[in-house]
């Protein structure tokens, strides 16, 4: 497998403080890679560096051997899309308008969406099961519906690599599984490489082929769920005692919390 994204000795963060302190990582084509780590370990900062929202201080990020900072921003956004945990706006775009915005990287200024753009948006609405919402305004949607719409918008960019920052954090377990199943399907069927932050270690274990455990802006451990999700690693990084056993159905590691006060 060839590396789609190569992160070399990355350092960066906000103003004076570096949050990411010399991080190297390869993302392979068709990876379903989940980033885990305690609050403040730099997960979101890492994604913001990788999507060019923050500028890096040191190191380099290569997308197919091309430095991402030298790519035209629109071209970059045709390859790489980002899904945030939630959106908020005072402007009441409809679901369809919002998903069509995903076509912006493919359009020139003043160029109206073509029939093809509208078809692609529609296709993504169907894929994320949001077609019936298309004329609703985003402020009328539930959190689960809104998350699916955000994903539809990112998919409309037709990216090869999709970043997601806790796409399931506002959702109940039913919707969590629904979203992750969809992403897994896209990962397998449509050749979409996925890099996702998750808080839930068991979801990470169930869906990923690789897990990266971050601690204080550096990779603490990287590998398969079995390699990363050991009680020793988790106890060291999260400072929490857990049990890890095998999931009775999938056989993947299953992390069980141990309450401190019994």
């Amino acid at each position: 497998m060839s590396a789609l994204l190569k992160i070399n000795n990355l350092r960066g963060g906000y103003h004076k403080e570096d949050i990411i302190k010399g991080l190297s990582l390869d993302v392979n084509q068709r990876d379903f890679l989940v980033i885990i780590g305690p609050n403040g370990s730099g997960k979101t900062t890492l994604l913001r560096l990788l999507t060019r929202v923050l500028s890096l201080k040191e190191g380099e990020i290569l997308y197919k051997d091309e430095n991402i900072l030298q790519m035209n921003l629109k071209r970059f956004c045709r390859k790489v899309a980002f899904v945030s945990g939630d959106i908020s706006t005072d402007f009441s775009f409809t679901v369809e308008e919002l998903v069509l915005m995903g076509r912006i990287p493919h359009l020139k200024r003043l160029q109206y969406e073509t029939k093809r753009d509208i078809e692609i948006a529609r296709e993504k609405l169907v894929l994320t099961d949001t077609l019936n919402l298309k004329d609703k305004r985003i402020d009328e949607l539930s959190a689960g519906e809104r998350q699916r719409v955000i994903i539809a918008q990112a998919l409309a960019q037709e990216p090869e690599l999709l970043f997601l920052d806790e796409p399931t954090s506002h959702l109940d377990i039913g919707h969590q599984v629904q979203i992750l199943d969809l992403l897994k399907k896209l990962n397998r069927g449509s050749n979409l490489t996925i890099v996702m932050i998750l808080h839930d270690l068991n979801l990470a274990s169930a869906y990923s082929n690789r897990i990266v455990l971050l601690d204080q802006g550096m990779v603490f451990k990287e590998g398969t769920p079995e390699e990363v999700l050991t009680y020793q690693n988790i106890e060291k990084v999260y400072k929490t005692v857990v049990l890890v056993n095998d999931h009775p159905v999938t056989g993947k590691p299953n992390v069980v919390l141990v309450p401190g006060d019994r």
Binding site: H15, I87, T89, D90, F91, S92, F93, L110, Q111, D139
Partner: protein, 317 residues
């Protein structure tokens, strides 16, 4: 209702109010006599006012739209950057030191530009424009300049104030058509630039980061558009003084009618704001004729209740 039909209705309305604007006034001219030679002078004057109304309405409303999108604040208005009080202050000073009336627009323009420069630089941190500091510095500069205006007026008496009245509350009386042409150029250019960024504005109104993820360089576009809107309002202040509420309520009403997509919203708002301004000007001229009420008073009297209704009725902005 389809978009084309809405567009058609707005065009018809605009045609109708333009004709009204030409025939109504202190003297009513029947439509049939409009082109008679006797009425030439009045017609020309009224035509200038109609053109000024279209220019001022569109300019203020479109800069309002741009600022509302880039600041993600539906309450933003064109004078947010302190242009109005900067222009007002410069004009008051010009009156006091006895500058000839011909140079008043220039003084106002320079005052507006000065306040923009101050506000822009106050809100800059490490080359980035922070929304909150931009709004705050705009408010602070407005309050500071306004207090100086009042201070100067109380020191130098009512004469200056009287002269200033039309300035502070606006008027579409055009003294010189050359000035109108001079102002039309930057205003029309500015509206075109804003429309050029219509797609970017859609993305930016979802947030700066969201825009970045769609390939839009939000910071740079924000800087360009802040300067463009400031240039538009500074130019308009030269010919019409300060006219509030237009940049606020017309965009709001049009968002209710056609939605927030800027590619549609901008042209539709140009039409609607032109209609609104011609009507307001008509009222300012005819309600208490021969006394002319400052147009800013009319827009505020109409605007404030409309705004309150919009605010209370729909959460959708």
């Amino acid at each position: 209702m389809s978009l084309n039909r809405k567009l058609l209705i707005l065009f018809l309305l605009l045609g109708a109010v333009i004709i009204f604007g030409l025939i109504k006034g202190a003297v009513n001219i029947p439509l049939a006599n409009l082109l008679l030679k006797d009425n030439q002078v009045i017609l020309n004057l009224r035509l200038l006012r109609v053109i000024a109304a279209i220019l001022v309405g569109s300019g203020l409303a479109i800069s309002g739209i741009a600022l509302q999108a880039i600041l993600r604040n539906p309450l933003a208005e064109p004078y947010l950057l302190g242009t109005s009080s900067g222009a007002g202050l410069a004009a008051v000073i010009a009156v006091i030191i006895g500058v000839s009336r011909i140079y008043m627009p220039l003084a106002a323009f320079l005052g507006a530009v000065l306040s923009i420069i101050i506000v822009y630089n106050l809100s800059r941190e490490k080359g980035m424009i922070a929304d909150k500091s931009l709004i705050l510095s705009g408010v602070i500069i407005s309050v500071a300049f306004s207090s100086v205006i009042v201070f100067l007026v109380s020191l130098f008496g009512n004469e200056a104030m009287h002269e200033m009245n039309w300035w502070l509350w606006g008027s579409l009386q055009v003294y010189d058509y050359r000035l109108l042409l001079l102002v039309a150029f930057p205003v029309i250019l500015g509206i075109c630039v804003i429309y050029f960024f219509a797609q970017d504005l859609n993305a930016i109104s979802m947030g700066e980061e969201a825009a970045m993820h769609l390939g839009i360089d939000a910071q740079n576009i924000k800087k360009i558009l802040i300067l463009v809107t400031a240039l538009i309002s500074a130019s308009l202040i030269c010919i019409c003084g300060i006219i509030g509420f237009v940049g606020l309520i017309v965009p709001h009403m049009m968002r209710l009618v056609v939605g927030p997509n800027h590619k549609v919203l901008i042209p539709m708002t140009c039409l609607a704001a032109s209609i609104f301004m011609i009507l307001c000007d008509l009222m300012s001229r005819t309600l208490f004729s021969p006394v002319e009420i400052p147009i800013g008073v009319i827009t505020a009297i109409i605007g404030a209740p409309v705004f309150i209704i919009l605010l209370k009725k729909g959460k959708r902005i």
